[in-house]
Symmetry: C3
Subunit: 140 residues, 3 copies
């Protein structure tokens, strides 16, 4: 059994917003008893983020660390056509990843207690971002 949907999310510029509820709703609707949910961002400057859902400071600290790993406006960048955040966004996307697979059981995501799924915008401007969710497995 297989259900595939594409959702579009408006981001507020750089930062992460939780999408666990939206992904869980697709999994529930698919009614998969046992299987996987594959989540995929169709962009090269925003990523998925699977991290702790309790303290928002975790995601602020991740911004700080990613700002060191892939700084905006680094003089070494050759690719800067869209501004100082352009190349930084591509690099952060690669490191965090645009593709995530989560197991499913009983029509629910098998996440740990403290795990949340976030859409992580790496550009400074707001964007519409497409996320493809594919739920595969055996019927409940």
């Amino acid at each position: 059994m297989l259900i595939q949907t594409r959702l579009t999310f408006r981001t507020a510029g750089r930062g992460s917003r939780e999408i666990t509820g939206e992904v869980a709703a697709q999994v529930r609707a698919a009614g998969i008893g046992c299987g996987i949910a594959q989540i995929f961002v169709q962009h090269t400057s925003c990523s998925l983020l699977l991290t702790e859902n309790a303290d928002p400071d975790v995601r602020r600290d991740l911004e700080t660390l990613f700002g060191r790993i892939a700084p905006d406006g680094d003089p070494a960048y050759l690719h800067d056509a869209e501004g100082p955040d352009d190349m930084a966004a591509h690099a952060r996307t690669l490191i965090a990843g645009a593709s995530l697979t989560v197991p499913v059981a009983g029509a629910r995501l098998l996440l740990g207690t403290w795990q949340g799924i976030y859409l992580w915008e790496h550009r400074t401007e707001a964007h519409d971002r497409n996320v493809v969710i594919t739920v595969m497995g055996e019927s409940a």
Copy 2:
């Protein structure tokens, strides 16, 4: 055909332990002729690690590099409720990844000769860690 299991591993604190054998045993038991094995850690402060299985110095050097990318007790961290390794562990988990998919054929993981799968504890203390393994595909 689909088999899903949850295994619990006791870690010895920061460091990696091989779990290739345990994952391979699930794949063998599933008897999948052709498909995929999806491995997922239900935590935000330990990750999976797919790396060379011959020289343990590789994994020591990865600790060194990750210690630079996400140092313990960095003064910039806002999130430090559980100690200096708390935020470092979240960041390392994100970069290494908590979710891994490996192809399967003939009821075996299609790993390369030098690839091993490790559970990588990023907290300094020992923990019990849950790993969900989902094997999907066609019967042998």
Copy 3:
């Protein structure tokens, strides 16, 4: 429905080469109406790279950044049996990832307009690299 193939690519030493066309050809041949394509590199010193396909400077800048994150010949490395690029290649592989899953619909990869799939060689010498592609889903 499920199709699995192993392709071998000759790299030209450190750098990335696009393999989107080769992966898309497998997906087309599989004739999957809806599902996923799982791509897996059977090595610990080269990775997959999902990034922008328009400006090759993006991939040059990624080399620059990865050269800082995991430099060649770092004096802290214990593992250097195969030269100064040996450990750097293992670390870069881990960070970029050797496993990638992409949704499929209508026998096509559901990539965004600017997304390309690359095989990223991290060793300085040329190598033959095995890539396993597994396409799973419902018939078209």
